[in-house]
Symmetry: C2
Subunit: 527 residues, 2 copies
């Protein structure tokens, strides 16, 4: 069922001479599946095919592209339990999570199909001519969003489905009219190949040009590097580490023709616990946060890694409950021995910092690759001084910072790097009282949450998943939600163009019935 | 009237020890105005002040920011003829152009004020809660655009008003809620200082925080380099050469925290002349293009530097008329001896290429720094082979390429780099007949024009001024038109936030009455 080959468009291809196996972290053994790493020739073929597919694919109507996306969702569904089995073996994640993520992946594909069918996402803007304007006549100018060209998507280690082969980056790029080449994540190349086969089937049965999608295997960095440097490639989507994302970003900027890289990277997702949340609801929040920290072995980019509060007896009680609660939760298997050993390393390094105290630790002897949770505490002054403590530790780990006062807490927020999310726990009155602190937090994050947990990222038009560097390489875009399509398109203006030769979105009669801005007014009327 | 000092917020400051004068290209002599180059201390002061101004300025309502922008336009108007006099001396451009550009500059400021007062530009998007959704409740999430932080704007040599101190970059950044530090262009530092004084007056009389605007003088690259590297700076706007823009772009990407640089750079703005345009309207187009090539001594980023057509006797006649027409036009003074000598150098280099023929040349002995127009012709095969001929020569210069057939013409378009504009001259039937060629052109440009000239860039919502690299560093944004504001903002999501503590744009009652997307529907209703 799993061939180990690359998909160069619809062709299975094994031209390279390097092989690697995926790994079962629960058994702590390689899986049976061996993958052929893409070689230079295959990379060139995939890029060239994507370039030629773009010529036709970019002109396909929203309706046709929507059919393709819906067919991908169907074909993923058709993979059935076999997909869940490969997913769980390659990731160590439970079957329930796999099924949930599959649902999310199909949901994302369908959300983009809905967006395409509705059609207004192209931001059509029309300024009609004013031939009599003085001192100069005004010409007719119309603008809409058009796709950039072939996009390279890097699979994410922690979302084998929703942020990999047919995940949010691929779905948004295909929706925009861009062909996609996936650099499959080596930790779940089998899951990737199965999903790739579903995409290829869907492309064939909906009449998409060959090359609209390719899937390349690679265990190292060379395939990704060559893809990003290929002149046919016009954009890159990545979810992963700050080091990896920043390296790709800088590489793409050094090309003769620089291209945009949207990398969603690290975040400690600060939580500000205001006094009322501790006095009125401390036990409840401690329980919820224990769950949020340990959820999925903490392998989420929105994992709450930093909890900030002002010193009080209520804070002591919160810390104590958090410690107790987190110790009752069963730790779970991490994605891969490398991720597990990085977690252990990061955890030890931060625990060894002077002035840091242990809140809770889980050290029972357990199966291999299990991510044992740990929570530390430190006072605000020491946290401010020691920026090592500001780093993300990817896994079920968090630090509670006991701040001397509101000023110190705000000073810490001001010193933090950019974040995907920030959370405030408290009551409405405190939002007014601590406005300056809340504003400082808002200015650092892509999403700000009141009385909730940052884990759980809703796929919807209003979601912003991104934030100031290093949360993402470009805070002006999101990688989750339908807004993610905006990364792969650019506005193009048509000046004095005959209506019947314009793209449908810009024609006088508005054949798509979409919302447009005509001479400054939002309308779906014809002209 | 001109002090030669830097504006650090509202303070005139002369701490540095380097001075330079601006230059009168018509007299071929330095002007009387000497400018103090900003030193490191002043750069730090301006950046720190901008950072602190951002804390309050970013929260100002659209109405307050609009008042500020309108006041800037008024204060520029109040500078009266004195501004026109300094402008013409420092640029060699005629008073009519100066007045026209002043009008455009004030018009841009007012267009952004209109945009702010209308308010829908923040792209408010609201997904309301569904507490009963299965299997998981949906939380309330609301998103809008928020400003990035202090922006550095580099003045452009060729637009002392409309793309410099209070030009499109500054107007759009101030409109977005970002403070601006201008690195004044050394060729028109006096014009820059006068406009800066108008901005400072406007800021003071409308109660803007000190540091919302600063203006720094510099004749070299060091001040710009330090500004771009300063951690308080969150974005950069630039209009100028490919070399300069690309260097800034790469510099900003190498920062510990990379920041976006929108550089609008070079372009040859290809014109495709289809057969009917030659046979039915050749003389008229030849006349119009002669004017477009020579307009403003060709010192426009949209100057038509490349004309492509298929060989025919009608093309021979077109070339002959173009040559005659262009020889009748009086050449004019260029902006500066450096620009003039670069023009002469580029013109000579391209004229010296083998296989290139002269169409028209203007070699009468004239005043210093006059840009004498030249048009060359070459056949398609030789043009394809010699990429030196694809380069922009900034000035009144153009090449007519005689292509063997449609295929060769399309091959040339496919080989060109990214362009600000592309133009097609012909009739409607030809748009269908040469669809593949037109599509190839559209995929290379930010704006595509039918039966017109690329010079003359309308400031309106539907304008796209930008394009694939090297036309701009990021084709997903525009530097002209109200869409330019999108460069300086990022989406921020508020999750589960109490309505009364949200920014007004996101509150239930929609107090601004703006167009929003609520649960997927465009509406200006309250919730």
């Amino acid at each position: 069922m799993i061939s180990g080959a690359n998909y160069i468009g619809s062709e299975l291809s094994k031209k390279g001479d390097k092989q690697f196996n995926t790994f079962d972290p629960k058994l702590n053994l390689p899986t049976e599946w061996a993958f052929q790493e893409a070689n230079e020739e295959e990379i060139m073929e995939a890029a060239t095919l994507a370039k030629s597919a773009f010529v036709t694919y970019r002109e396909f109507s929203g309706k046709r592209k929507a059919e393709f996306l819906r067919a991908i969702a169907e074909e993923i569904d058709n993979l059935g339990d076999a997909l869940i089995e490969v997913y769980t073996q390659e990731s160590g994640l439970p079957a329930g999570r796999a099924a949930g993520e599959r649902g999310r992946t199909m949901g994302q594909l369908r959300a983009f199909a809905d967006l395409l069918e509705e059609g207004s996402w192209v931001e059509a803007s029309i300024d009609t001519a004013q031939p009599d304007r003085q001192p100069m006549p005004k010409v007719d100018i119309r603008k809409m969003l058009c796709p950039l060209g072939p996009i390279v998507v890097f699979g994410a280690s922690n979302f084998p489905l929703a942020f990999s082969t047919a995940g949010g980056d691929t779905a948004s790029a295909l929706a925009s009219g861009c062909p996609v080449i996936v650099k499959s994540h080596p930790m779940h190349a089998g899951t990737g190949e199965m999903v790739a086969s579903a995409i290829i089937k869907a492309a064939q049965r909906t009449g998409m040009p060959n090359g609209v999608f390719s899937n390349l295997n690679s265990s190292g960095i060379e395939v990704g590097r060559q893809l990003v440097m290929h002149p046919a490639v016009k954009g890159v989507g990545f979810t992963g580490s700050i080091k990896g994302g920043t390296a790709l970003y800088r590489l793409a900027n050094e090309r003769p023709e620089p291209i945009p890289v949207f990398a969603e990277m690290g975040s400690v997702n600060p939580i500000v616990v205001l006094p009322s949340a501790l006095t009125e609801n401390g036990d409840n929040w401690a329980k919820q946060y224990a769950g949020s920290i340990v959820l999925g072995a903490g392998q989420f980019c929105t994992n709450p890694g930093l909890i900030l509060a002002m010193k009080s007896t209520a804070l002591d009680a919160f810390i104590s409950t958090l410690g107790k609660e987190i110790s009752t939760l069963e730790p779970t298997c991490m994605l891969h021995p490398n991720i597990h050993s990085n977690y252990e390393k990061g955890k030890k390094e931060l625990s060894a910092q002077a002035t840091v105290d242990m809140v809770a630790d889980y050290e029972t002897a357990v199966s291999p690759n299990v991510g044992q949770q740990r929570v530390l505490t430190v006072n605000g002054a020491n946290f401010l001084r020691n920026t090592k403590l500001h780093q993300e530790v990817f896994g079920p780990f968090s630090i509670v910072v006991r701040c001397a006062d509101a000023q110190e807490l705000e000073a810490i927020l001001a010193k933090l790097e950019g974040q995907l999310t920030g959370t405030v726990l408290g009551n409405n009155t405190e939002l007014a009282k601590y406005k300056s602190m809340v504003d400082t937090l808002q200015n650092k994050v892509g999403r700000i949450i009141f009385n909730g947990v940052p884990t759980g990222v809703e796929v919807c038009p209003s979601m912003q998943h991104g934030g100031p560097f290093p949360a993402a390489t470009d805070s002006r875009f999101t990688s989750v939600g339908t807004g993610a399509i905006r990364r792969w398109v650019r506005p193009v203006s048509y000046q004095n163009w005959p209506s019947e030769y314009l793209p449908e979105a810009l024609r006088n009669e508005n054949p798509l019935g979409i919302m447009r801005v005509v001479d400054g007014i939002h309308t779906n009327n014809k002209i």
